[in-house]
C-alpha cells in the first residue's frame, strides 16, 4: 500500500479536494515561520528526512531541505549518480540501505517515472515525490495552487492556462490533477507535437493559439522549453516556438491587466518568457519559490504526523 493515506505523497491523483485544501491551509500558517527572526519551530524534532536525488535540482532540493530544517528535522542529502547505478546497484537497493538506518521520510527525485511509487510500495519510511520523470511533481503543483490562492483569493472557477511542452512536463500533469480537483478551468496551449495523446480525458481543453488563452485566462503558467526538443524533431526551430508560444511585453497587451504569470523555474529567458515579462509586475515567479518552502513544510508536517505505514 502506498499513497497519502498511508504516509506518502506520490502524485495529486490520490488526494481529495479536502486533502489539498488542508495542505494549503497548513502552509499558510507555516509561511509566517519563515518571516520570523528565529526561523524554526520544533514540530519535527528527532525526525530524519533524507533527500535522495538522482537528477540535478538545486531549487527543489534546497527548498525541501530548508522546509525540513525549519521544522527542526535532521536532514541528509544523498545524490545518486548514474555511475553508482551502473555498478549494478538499483535505486531500490540504495533506498533499502537508507531505510535500514531508520529514517522517517525519503524525498525522492528521479529521472524515471514511477520510481517514488515503487519505493513507497517496498519501504516503511514515507516517500515524498520531488519529481519523477514526466509523471508528477506534486509539491510544485501545491505551491502553484497556494500562490494562485494567495494572489486571487480562490481557485474554483478560475481560468488557468498551462503553456509550453506539456508532453514532457511533470509539473503540468500535477497541476492538471490538482487544479481540476479544486474546480479551475484548465486550458493547455502548446505546439501539437508537445501535447500528449489522450490528455483531454483529464478534463482539460487544448488549444494551439496563444492569443486566445492570453485574452481569456486569469493565470498563465509557462513551462520551460528544453532546447533538445528541436534536435528530437518535435519543433522546426526554437525561433518559431518563441514567435508562436513565447510571451513578451507586446503580446502581454492581449492579456487581462491583472493576469498572474507563473513559471516553475528555471526560466529560459528569451524563450518562453522575455526577461522584462519574467521580472515584470504580473510575474509571481519568486513568490512561488518563497511559497515552496511553506508548502513543503506543510507536507512534511502532515505526513510525519500520520500513523506509520
Amino acid at each position: 500500500m502506498s499513497g497519502w493515506k498511508t504516509g506518502d505523497l506520490l502524485d495529486l491523483q490520490d488526494l481529495t479536494r479536502e486533502d489539498i485544501e488542508s495542505i494549503l491551509e497548513t502552509a499558510k500558517s507555516f509561511k509566517e515561520v519563515s518571516t520570523r527572526d528565529v526561523k524554526k519551530v520544533p514540530a519535527l524534532r528527532g525526525k530524519t528526512v533524507v533527500m535522495l536525488f538522482s537528477e540535478p535540482s538545486t531549487r527543489t532540493r534546497v527548498s525541501f531541505e530548508l522546509a525540513a530544517k525549519r521544522l527542526s528535522a535532521d536532514t541528509l542529502n544523498v545524490s545518486v549518480s548514474a555511475s553508482s547505478l551502473s555498478k549494478g546497484e538499483s535505486i531500490l537497493d540504495m533506498a533499502k540501505n537508507i531505510e535500514a538506518m531508520n529514517v522517517d521520510m525519503i524525498v525522492v527525485r528521479h529521472r524515471s517515472s514511477g520510481v517514488p511509487k515503487v519505493l513507497a510500495d517496498a519501504l516503511t519510511p514515507g516517500i515524498i515525490n520531488a519529481g519523477d520523470g514526466c509523471r508528477a511533481h506534486p509539491t510544485q503543483a501545491l505551491l502553484d495552487m497556494f500562490t494562485i490562492k494567495e494572489k486571487l483569493g480562490k481557485i474554483e472557477g478560475l481560468k488557468v492556462a498551462i503553456i509550453g511542452d506539456i508532453l514532457h512536463s511533470r509539473v503540468a500533469r500535477s497541476n492538471i490533477e490538482g487544479l481540476t480537483k479544486l474546480g479551475a478551468k484548465v486550458t493547455l496551449c502548446g505546439p501539437s507535437t508537445l501535447i500528449p495523446v489522450g490528455i483531454e480525458v483529464q478534463g482539460v481543453k487544448v488549444t494551439h493559439c496563444l492569443e486566445d488563452v492570453l485574452k481569456d485566462s486569469d493565470v498563465l503558467m509557462f513551462l520551460r522549453l528544453q532546447k533538445e526538443r528541436q534536435q528530437e524533431k518535435y519543433l522546426p526551430s526554437v525561433r518559431e516556438y518563441v514567435r508562436k508560444f513565447g510571451l513578451n511585453k507586446e503580446k502581454l497587451k492581449w492579456a487581462k491587466k491583472d493576469v498572474v504569470i507563473m513559471h516553475p523555474g528555471p526560466v529560459n529567458r528569451g524563450i518562453e518568457l522575455s526577461a522584462d515579462v519574467a521580472d515584470g509586475e504580473n510575474s509571481v515567479i519568486l513568490e512561488q519559490v518563497t511559497n515552496g518552502v511553506a508548502v513543503r513544510m506543510a507536507v512534511l508536517y502532515l505526513l510525519l504526523g500520520k500513523k506509520e505505514k
Binding site: 549494478g88 517515472s113 514511477g114 515503487v118 520523470g133 509523471r135 500528449p196
Partner: protein, 426 residues
C-alpha cells in the same frame, strides 16, 4: 515398454469426444486408440475425469541459450514448457550469438537431445546477426533443422531486404515469421494513449505494429508468397489480417495470453513485469484479439516466453528489459479468458494451441491425437482452480505479472514422444 492411457476423454479440433477411449503408445507413436485396450504389462496412466489434449505447440519462445544462461537454459526452459503442457516449442534466434548458422543450431539440438523433455525447434534469423543488412544462408538453416525464420525482437525494416527474404524463403520452403514493429515509431515503453500520458511514460503508438503488418501483407500479395505474424496485439492489426485473409492472401497470425488477459492499465502499478513488446494495449484491443481468436483471424496462441532475472527487472520502468515468462500460465489463462467465457470451445482451443501451430509450421506428424501420429499428449484437470505461486515456477526466471493470480485448468501429465516429461505432484 509401451504406455497405455486408460479412460482418455480425448479433445480434438471437433471438440470433446462423447466417450472415453484407451490410447496405446509404442516407440513414441500413437499405436492404437480403442474403446478398451487390455493392460497387459504396459505402464498405465489413468486419465479418468481429465481431458486428454494433443501436446501443445508454441511457435514463439525465448530459451536464452546460448549466451544468457543466467535467464534460462534449454534445460530449465524445457522443464517449464513441459509443466505448461507444451511438447514442441520454437525458440527465437535472438540468443548470443544469434542463431544464424548451422554450427549454432547443431549445438542447440545436441543440448535439446540431452535434456530430452520437449521438442525444441530453433527458429533461424532472417538476417546475419539480426542486423537487418544481409540474409542468412537460408538453405543451410533449413538443412540444419530450422522450420522457420524470424528476426524476432525487431522487424526486418528494410522493405527490399524483406522482399528478398520472402522470395528466397519461398524457394527454400521455410516459413517467415515477422515481429511487426516500425522502429522509428516505437521509441517508448508502453502503449501510447491516455494511460501513458497519465503515467508520464513514453508511449508507442499501435500503428508501429499495424504499419509493418500492412507493408508485409502488400509484399506477400505482390510476391504471391506467405508470412506468419508474431504476437499480434492491436485491433487494427487484427482487422488488416482479417481483410487480407478474406482476399486470399496467405497470412497467418498468433497472439499471446498476456495480450488477451491484461490491458495497459496493468502498468499503473509500475511493475516492470508488465513491460512487454509489443506493449499491453486497451480493452478494445483485447476484445479484438479475442474476436480474432474466435473467428480464426488469429490462428494460434503462442507464449512469447521471455525470461529475465529479478535484478534485470528491478530497474526503473523505462530502463527495464521487455518480456515476461509464459509457458506455465498459457493454458490456464487461455481456459480462464477464452473457454470459460465461451469465446472458444475446447475443440477450438486445441486448434489454436496444437492443430494450427502444427499446420503453420509444417509439423505433419504432430498436433492431433490420431493413430500413427507422434505420441505428444497432455492430460489436463480442466476443473482445477489454482493460484500461480512464485515458489512453484520451474522457469529459471520469475518475471510474470500473473503471480498470485487465480487460474483455471491445470496440467496433470505431459507426454512427449511417448515419455512422461512432466507429472504434477499428487
Amino acid at each position: 515398454m509401451a504406455l497405455l492411457i486408460k479412460n482418455a476423454n480425448i479433445v480434438t479440433s471437433k471438440g470433446i469426444a462423447k466417450e472415453c477411449q484407451d490410447i496405446l503408445i509404442e516407440k513414441g507413436i500413437i499405436e492404437k486408440i480403442l474403446s478398451k485396450i487390455s493392460e497387459g504389462d504396459h505402464k498405465v496412466i489413468d486419465a479418468k475425469g481429465k481431458l486428454v489434449l494433443p501436446g501443445l505447440i508454441d511457435l514463439h519462445c525465448h530459451l536464452r541459450e546460448p549466451g544468457q544462461e543466467h535467464k534460462e537454459t534449454i534445460e530449465s526452459g524445457s522443464k517449464s514448457a513441459a509443466k505448461g503442457g507444451f511438447t514442441t516449442i520454437f525458440c527465437m534466434p535472438n540468443t548470443k550469438p544469434v542463431i544464424d548458422n548451422a554450427k549454432i543450431i547443431e549445438g542447440i539440438l545436441k543440448e535439446v537431445k540431452r535434456v530430452g523433455l520437449v521438442n525444441v525447434i530453433p527458429v533461424g534469423a532472417v538476417t546475419k546477426g539480426q542486423n537487418g543488412e544481409e540474409l542468412t544462408d537460408i538453405f543451410e538453416l533449413k538443412e540444419a533443422g530450422c522450420l522457420a525464420l524470424s528476426d524476432d525482437g525487431k522487424s526486418v525494416s528494410n522493405g527490399q531486404l524483406m522482399r528478398h527474404a520472402l522470395e528466397y524463403a519461398k524457394m527454400v520452403n521455410i516459413l517467415v515469421m515477422e515481429h511487426c514493429e516500425d522502429p522509428t515509431l516505437s521509441q517508448g515503453v508502453m502503449n501510447e494513449g491516455s494511460c501513458s500520458t497519465f503515467l508520464g511514460l513514453k508511449g508507442i503508438p499501435d500503428i508501429s505494429e499495424s504499419i509493418i503488418v500492412s507493408r508485409d501483407i502488400e509484399l506477400v500479395r505482390y510476391l504471391k508468397t506467405k508470412i506468419h505474424f508474431s504476437h499480434i496485439s492491436s485491433a487494427r492489426s487484427v482487422e488488416l489480417i482479417r481483410v487480407a485473409k478474406a482476399q486470399g492472401i496467405e497470412v497467418t497470425a498468433e497472439a499471446c495470453p498476456h495480450h488477451f488477459s491484461l490491458t495497459e492499465n496493468a502498468v499503473e502499478s509500475f511493475d516492470t513485469n508488465t513491460k512487454v513488446n509489443p506493449p499491453l494495449k486497451t480493452q478494445a484491443d483485447v476484445d479484438a484479439i479475442k474476436q480474432g481468436l474466435k473467428d480464426g483471424t488469429i490462428d494460434c496462441i503462442t507464449t512469447d516466453h521471455a525470461p529475465h532475472t529479478a535484478e534485470e527487472k528491478e530497474l526503473e520502468f523505462d530502463r527495464a528489459p521487455v518480456g515476461m515468462i509464459g509457458f506455465e500460465t498459457a493454458l490456464g489463462l487461455a481456459i480462464k479468458e477464452l473457454v470459460e467465457t465461451k469465446i472458444l470451445t475446447w475443440g477450438k482451443l486445441v486448434e489454436r494451441m496444437a492443430v494450427s501451430p502444427a499446420r503453420i509450421s509444417g509439423l505433419t506428424t504432430k498436433g492431433e491425437i490420431v493413430e500413427g501420429k507422434d505420441a505428444d499428449i497432455v492430460i489436463v484437470d480442466s476443473d482445477k482452480v489454482w493460484v500461480f505461486d512464485k515458489s512453484e515456477i520451474v522457469s529459471k526466471s520469475k518475471n510474470s505479472p500473473f503471480i498470485g493470480k487465480t487460474l483455471k485448468g491445470c496440467v496433470e501429465t505431459t507426454i512427449c514422444g511417448g515419455k512422461v516429461s512432466y507429472q504434477a505432484k499428487q
